[in-house]
Amino acid sequence: MPKDGGIGASSKRREDVRFLTGEGNYTDDINLNGQAYVFFLRSDIAHGTLNSVDTSAAEAMPGVVKIFTGADFEAVGSIPCGWQVTDKHGEAMQEPRHPVLAHGKVRHVGEPIAAVVAESLGEARDAAEAIEVDISELPAVVDMKEAVKDGAPKVHDDLTSNLCYDWGFVEENKGAVDQAFKDAAHVTTLELVNNRLVANPMEPRVAVGDYARGTGDHTLYTTSQNPHVIRLLMGAFVLGIPEHKLRVVAPDVGGGFGTKIFHYQEEAFCTFAAKACNRPVKWTSSRSEAFMSDAHGRDHVTKIQMALDADNNFTALRTDTYANMGAYLSTFAPSVPTWLHGTLMAGNYKTPLIYVNVKAVFTNTVPVDAYRGAGRPEATYQLERLVDKCAHELGVDPIALRRQNFITEFPYATPVAVEYDTGDYVATMDKLEEISDMAGFNARRAASEAKGKLRGFGVNCYIEACGIAPSNLVGQLGARAGLYESATVRVNATGGLVVMTGSHSHGQGHETAFPQVIAEMIGIPEEMVEIVHGDTANTPMGMGTYGSRSLAVGGSAMVRATEKIIAKAKKIASHLLEASEGDIELKDGAFSVAGTDKSVAWGDVTLAAYVPHNYPLEDIEPGLEETAFYDPANFTYPSGAYACEVELDPETGQVTIERFAAADDFGNIVNPMIVTGQVHGGLAQGIGQALMENCTYDSDGQLLSASYMDYAIPRASDLPFYTVDHSCQTPCTHNPLGVKGCGEAGAIGSPPAVVNAVLDAMRSGGKDVGHIDMPVTPARVWAAMNG
């Protein structure tokens, strides 16, 4: 019987009450007294020399408060990059300056050139049109392979080339890998594109800067997944404001998907301008601006090869990827194609030798950074497409080939630097075969064929490294910050608790799931626990939410703090019960003395902590509030197996997803309903990438898919009813909850299954094309089938 509370209960999301009734408090809902509005004049040229920006006519326009250009930010720091990658020669990556407003050159369509602060947005926009910008257009580089050729136009004149870094991993293995390919009985080669995506959170980005002249205090309200990170990056590296004079608030945030991790120019601008104008300054992104200013995702071009022995065992893997950085390095951009991608190339397989090369390239496009999955979808896609191609070349069953090469012993140290603590890939594959009703596929295919359609079945496995991350490890890998998480648990006098967490909820349901954990630990109703997040003024320094880390890392910090609370409460209880501390047991919200009927309720103990009339003041302090910082010992490794069943209309090339099954191992699960919802959302985005989404530039660097008229994201009618199962559970061995993280799995694990299914359908129609790139649009399928 399902639990009705605590760990394992599908408690309803308490935050939905305000979200679904229009009572949320989003950044754009914040309107401060005397607020002015900013409009950014953005470049419509991808690459050019910025000769002059004449604001004189604009400054005379009605309502204008102040106009800023790049020259105003010369003394201000560069928008920083949070991760340094060392290339295969031991050299640091090339790292260009990233100005708040363009200065000297423009480097992508959408780059802000000037900012008008005015009494109203309309007036700001009118004035922006009166700014005279003189740009000498330069040839743009968009294609990565062209960008790294000798003589290609340089995005940054002060760098030696457009190559940010050339990374080899593990460089020492390269010779052995190459030898294994020479010795192979069979080699499968696959070239593919991992399509560029736009994150499209429902809420566009917003920033409101405020400055209190009387105290010198700055406040930034922003749509962020990690307000403390923004405070550190912007305060220390851009504007030179110490943390104690800078508060960053990320209130309700309407989806992030990674693109709200990063520190953006608009945040620094609004903070800077609020002081310069001495009034609050607000920017709300339009959807059109979002397309050309939110960091994009993916955009890899890859060649991958597998070597197999005569018994179809994987003996070596090598892969070469060009990864688009865009025009500047966004906060985490260098880490995505390297440490979040190369380390995952073992996948679920015991391939003994692996070599990964990644060339990160600057182009005249919007910066590219983490998007739901971040590097791991790119790894999974190429590997799982390759394994399918191996199977077809060898004439063996794709599932059997996977099973034959599965890792089965844990812990397992991969040849790409990580150690999987637990997993059971056979179990999730068994579960998948059951829930996807593989046995019924042939009948369903026959039914499709009877109406002139083709039907295909595709599977893939995935492994991800999340619960990001062990600080000492990521420090060695180039991270310029730690990746612990924090929690302060404050118990009120009458027994209720407030958890102030460094994690940030922007759709994940922390306000529901986190209290379930504490309710379980203490034995009290979830309603007695409240979660506070998103404000640097009232939460301990924490690193925020991304990389499926909140429960595994933030939740663990909360557990540690709660353990301290319980330990202290037991001391108080032992005093009140006049018993030895070692005999005190906490169960169902009451402390009792083992072996007796003496007990004292949770609320009596908490009251004693704050009204310490009868209290061991000589031994312990009054009050009941504890903080813990938790730094994980390892990543967590969720894994699973996905199956997609498509129907393909050979006349039009239209692919429809008929069935999709996901068997995931997320370790222990706190709220099964929320986990299911996370998987559903991830699948929608993974299927979107596979079938519909495509961010495209022309050769001049103009963004072609710049609105929903041309950028297709899936709607409900494009998606099937999913079959989702997370009953296979191998708990994480190193965090106190045994949890692994579920936020990105759906997006990581679904694209290869979709493409494998489409290719299977095409084969059943007599057309074996080997590979088709995402998005698998009707036009592409038709062209492939008729090519």
């Binding site: 049109e129 059109s288 239209q654 041309d710 494009d718 038709w782 062209a783």
Partner: protein, 263 residues
């Protein structure tokens, strides 16, 4: 958007007068115009709303049996009220955009705008309808003059569209996945004296009649009759969502499916 005046006349005569003002722009639902204004891609000094004119509202049948739809009639109204007499047309209207679009957009606005991917022009052309304006009546074959181009003069208003009702008709639409406008859509109308086939979404010249298919279907109204017929891909729209050749191919597929749906 930029500042502009709004006029909401209640008669066609007043609307025509209002459109005589400098830089005046008619608005008949605004489903294209409002986004254009928001993007600051147009700067009219006065918007003349055609939605308050009672004589441009609603659906009736004239003495020639034609279905007469006022230019200011909402898609949602056509979807509902034309269903009994002209189900193919009502079905087309019912699948334009989403409910919000269907309850603001009008047939007159769609026909006057002549977006190359709009739905209505294919029905008007395939039905051999007559476009009525404040000044004259224009046969569909003379009305559509290319992408976003029509026979309308400056300040001329589409007040009504008169549709002869075919024996049977079907609209087959293949959507562009982002906008959900037609990537290619075909309206096939079978009359006693022949078949008319109009294609939208495909051509760089906007909606057009596929005369080869019309001839073949007029002599043999069967999907097999157009087997082997092709349209030239060179004049077709080629973009992110499909090449000209793909669109040309889809013209054949959609036409066959429309005919098959009627057989």
């Amino acid at each position: 958007m930029y500042n502009f005046d709004v006029e909401k006349p209640t008669s066609i005569a007043d609307a025509v007068a209002a459109l005589g003002r400098e830089e005046a722009q008619p608005m008949s639902g605004g489903q294209t115009l409002i986004p254009t204004l928001k993007a600051r891609l147009a700067m009219p000094s006065v918007l003349v709303s055609l939605r308050g004119i009672d004589e441009m509202q609603g659906i009736c049948t004239d003495d020639q049996g034609r279905l007469c739809i006022g230019g200011g009639t909402l898609h949602a109204v056509v979807a509902k009220e034309a269903a009994a007499q002209y189900p193919a047309l009502a079905g087309l209207a019912a699948r334009i955009g989403d409910p919000a679009v269907r309850n603001r957009g009008t047939i007159g606005g769609s026909v006057a705008n002549n977006d190359p991917s709009a739905c209505y022009p294919s029905a008007v052309l395939a039905s051999g309808a007559t476009v009525v304006t404040n000044a004259r009546e224009i046969a569909a074959d003379d009305f559509f003059e290319g992408m976003f181009a029509t026979a309308l003069e400056e300040g001329e208003i589409v007040t009504e569209v008169k549709f002869p009702i075919p024996e049977k008709a079907h609209y087959e639409k293949f959507i562009q996945p982002a906008s959900r406008f037609p990537l290619v859509a075909v309206f096939v109308a079978k009359f006693g004296d022949g078949v008319r086939v109009a294609v939208t979404g495909a051509s760089e010249d906007g909606v057009f009649r596929w005369t080869d298919a019309e001839a073949a279907l007029s002599s043999n109204f069967d999907a097999g009759a157009i087997e082997g017929l092709t349209v030239d891909g060179s004049g077709m729209i080629s973009d992110l969502h499909g090449s000209g050749d793909y669109r040309a191919h889809l013209v054949g597929v959609m036409t066959k499916r429309a005919v098959a749906a009627l057989s």
